[in-house]
Symmetry: C2
Subunit: 172 residues, 2 copies
């Protein structure tokens, strides 16, 4: 448990440093609110929406406002520290990027709204291939499956939320 916590701290420390660097490079200022929002992102184990982020960020710094959360999310996304995951539901989801990269499939349960993620290494190659076919240059890719737990509720519904994926290898 101690080593777990230590590992998380290390991840957070790296993220903070990367964020400071990013802000510096871009000529943006390092503010308490931005740091609080970054920390909040990494406190979340799973995918989160802006409103939840606001809540957690406020636990860290009372002064954080909704507007600042919304203004910070694009910055965090651009810095690569946070991934935006739009599954076409009501809200956009976000998730701290803990180094898994973005070649992933999201399996979204339409019953419980939870998001599972799986690795899909072939995605990058595929994006390039498809873009080239129409004369464009790939920038990002998104592969999502809407699915449901037929009748019985899925593990995720009943138990707690382990949607923070299990990597798998099969890529055909």
């Amino acid at each position: 448990m101690a080593s777990e916590t230590g590992k998380q701290d290390e991840v957070l420390e790296k993220a903070r440093e990367k964020f400071r660097n990013f802000l510096g490079t871009k000529g943006l200022r390092i503010t308490n609110q931005r740091l609080a929002i970054l920390d909040a992102c990494f406190r979340m184990e799973k995918h989160f929406i802006a409103e939840q982020l606001l809540e957690v960020a406020r636990e860290i710094d009372r002064s954080v406002s909704r507007a600042t959360v919304y203004r910070s999310l694009p910055i965090l996304t651009e810095s690569g520290l946070v991934r935006e995951i739009d599954v076409g539901r009501d809200h956009k989801f976000y998730m701290a990027d803990r180094g898994r990269g973005s070649n992933r499939v999201q399996v979204v349960c339409v019953n419980c709204d939870k998001i599972f993620e799986l690795d899909a290494p072939f995605l990058e190659w595929y994006a390039n291939s498809a873009s080239q076919k129409v004369g464009l240059k790939a920038e990002s890719i998104r592969l999502q499956v809407l699915a449901r737990c037929d009748g019985h509720r899925c593990d995720n519904c009943t138990g707690d939320n382990m949607q923070e994926n299990a990597p798998h290898k099969h890529e055909h």
Copy 2:
């Protein structure tokens, strides 16, 4: 050209019939507005948004209102006559389903907002495989590539819109 038009009429006639059947089966009523909206969908060559659909539907039946368009789209989608394509931009896009099925990739140009579509037959298999891994049952899948025309504008930007795809075979 005559044969082209003839073919389109045939497609439309089939769509109307399918729609009538669907409505009947579901105990929904066949109204002029719903028929006008269906026709409008098939008048659009490319992807469209609700507002554009309203405009065209009104050319067919002056009385069609925005509310009815929004209320009809889910019905049309459920009937399989129209596909909903959410690319995570501001609007949702829709497109009449002319029998190509839904195993397709969308390549979205971030410069001109146009959507190219390509066949991706492996998608269905992949959706099932991924869903199974997390214990769910696949319902629909979505594969999208955001891309840009690096520097020069893409064919689609300059010319007219041929985003109504070119099928391709490569599926690895």
